[in-house]
C-alpha cells in the first residue's frame, strides 16, 4: 500500500522568527480534500489511527501541540459518530528553539484518511517550516 493518493495538503508556512530558548508558535494549516475525513487526535476507537504532529527534538523543545475541536460525524460504516477533522483546519504548536540561526524546522505529521466507504493507508509526511532564530 504505497498510498499514492494525496488527499491532504499543507499550506506553506511563512518564515518563523524568534529567539533561542523563547517560545514561538507554529501554525500548520491543512487542507483536506472534500469527501474525506481524518481521524482526530483523539479518536474514540482504539483501532483508529490518530492525527499526530511531532517536531524534531534536536532543533526545538515542544511545549504543546494544539488541535482544533474535532467534529463528530456519522458515517454509514460506523454505529456511532466519529471524532474527525474535515476540510481546512490548523494545528498550533508551541516550541522553544534550541539553537540560533537560519534553519528549516522539520515536523512529522501522521494521519489516516477515509471517505464514506473506503480508507487510505496511514501516512507520515514532513512539515517544513523556515525559521530564523536569534
Amino acid at each position: 500500500m504505497a498510498g499514492q493518493n494525496d488527499v491532504l495538503k499543507i499550506a506553506p508556512t511563512p518564515t518563523l522568527s524568534g529567539k533561542r530558548g523563547e517560545a514561538v508558535q507554529i501554525k500548520t494549516a491543512l487542507q483536506l480534500q472534500g469527501g474525506y475525513h481524518l481521524n482526530s487526535n483523539k479518536p474514540d476507537d482504539p483501532y483508529l489511527i490518530p492525527l499526530k504532529l511531532t517536531w524534531d527534538a534536536a532543533a526545538v523543545e515542544t511545549i504543546s501541540v494544539s488541535f482544533p475541536e474535532p467534529k463528530r460525524e456519522k458515517y454509514a460504516f460506523n454505529e456511532k459518530p466519529l471524532s474527525v477533522f474535515t476540510g481546512d483546519f490548523a494545528i498550533t504548536s508551541t516550541v522553544k528553539p534550541k539553537t540560533a540561526g537560519f534553519t528549516v524546522l522539520t515536523g512529522k505529521l501522521r494521519y489516516q484518511a477515509c471517505n464514506h466507504n473506503a480508507c487510505l493507508p496511514p501516512k507520515t509526511i514532513d512539515v517544513k517550516v523556515p525559521a530564523d532564530f536569534r
Binding site: G3, F77, C119, P121
Partner: protein, 191 residues
C-alpha cells in the same frame, strides 16, 4: 439440470433482494474469457504457516485486503464470517490479508474479538503491488475455481453484491454440477 440449479440460486437471491429494498443485485462477475489469473503469493498466517493463494485452486476464494484501522472493512467482517460458515463445504473460502503495519500485534486481538473463522495472513507492499497496488481498503478480489480474478470490489459494497458473486462462481462447478446455495440470513440488505 445445471441451468435449472443456477436459475434456482439466482431466483432465491433475487427474491431475497426484493424482499427488503429496491436495490438491484449487481452482476459484477466478469465473463470467463476476460478473467486473468490471480497473482500467487506466499504469506504467513497467525501460526507462522506459509499460505499460498495457489493452494486454494479448485475453490472459489474471496480475497479481502483490509486493516484494523479501516472502519468500512469492519462492516464486512461479519458477512465474511457468515459466508465462510455457510459455503465452506461447497468449495468456498475467505482469505483475509491484513495490511496493518504493526502486523499480528494489532491483528490477532481483533481477529479473536470478532471471532473470525477464516484464514488470515499479514500482507505486505509486494503482495499489494501484485494486485494493482491496493490503494484503498477494503479491496476484495473474487477468485474463481481456476484461480482467475472474476470480480474486484474497491471500497465498501453490499453484502448482497458479495453473495451474488459467490453464488455465480460456486454455480459454475468444474464437475458440471451446480451448487444450490442456502441464502444466509439478512442477505437482502447491506447491513
Amino acid at each position: 439440470m445445471r441451468l435449472a440449479s443456477i436459475a434456482t440460486v439466482f431466483a432465491a437471491l433475487w427474491l431475497a433482494g426484493c424482499g427488503s429494498a429496491p436495490d438491484t443485485v449487481r452482476a459484477a462477475v466478469r465473463a470467463e474469457k476476460t478473467r486473468k489469473p490471480a497473482p500467487d503469493f506466499q504469506l504467513k498466517d497467525g501460526d507462522g504457516k506459509i499460505v499460498k493463494l495457489s493452494d486454494y485452486k479448485g475453490k472459489v476464494v474471496l480475497l479481502n485486503f483490509w486493516a484494523t484501522w479501516c472502519g468500512p472493512c469492519k462492516i464486512e467482517i461479519p458477512w465474511f464470517v457468515e459466508f465462510e460458515q455457510n459455503y465452506r463445504d461447497k468449495g468456498f473460502a475467505v482469505l483475509g490479508v491484513a495490511m496493518d503495519e504493526e502486523g499480528w500485534a494489532a491483528v490477532k486481538p481483533f481477529v479473536a474479538s470478532h471471532k473470525v473463522n477464516y484464514r488470515m495472513v499479514i500482507g505486505d507492499d509486494m503482495t499489494a503491488q501484485k494486485f494493482g497496488g491496493v490503494e484503498s481498503l477494503p479491496t476484495s478480489f473474487m477468485i474463481d475455481r481456476e484461480g482467475r480474478i472474476a470480480a474486484v470490489h474497491v471500497g465498501l459494497v453490499s453484502k448482497k453484491d458479495y453473495a451474488n458473486d459467490i453464488a455465480q462462481l460456486l454455480g459454475n462447478a468444474p464437475d458440471g454440477k451446480a451448487s444450490i446455495l442456502p441464502v444466509p440470513a439478512g442477505i437482502g440488505g447491506t447491513e
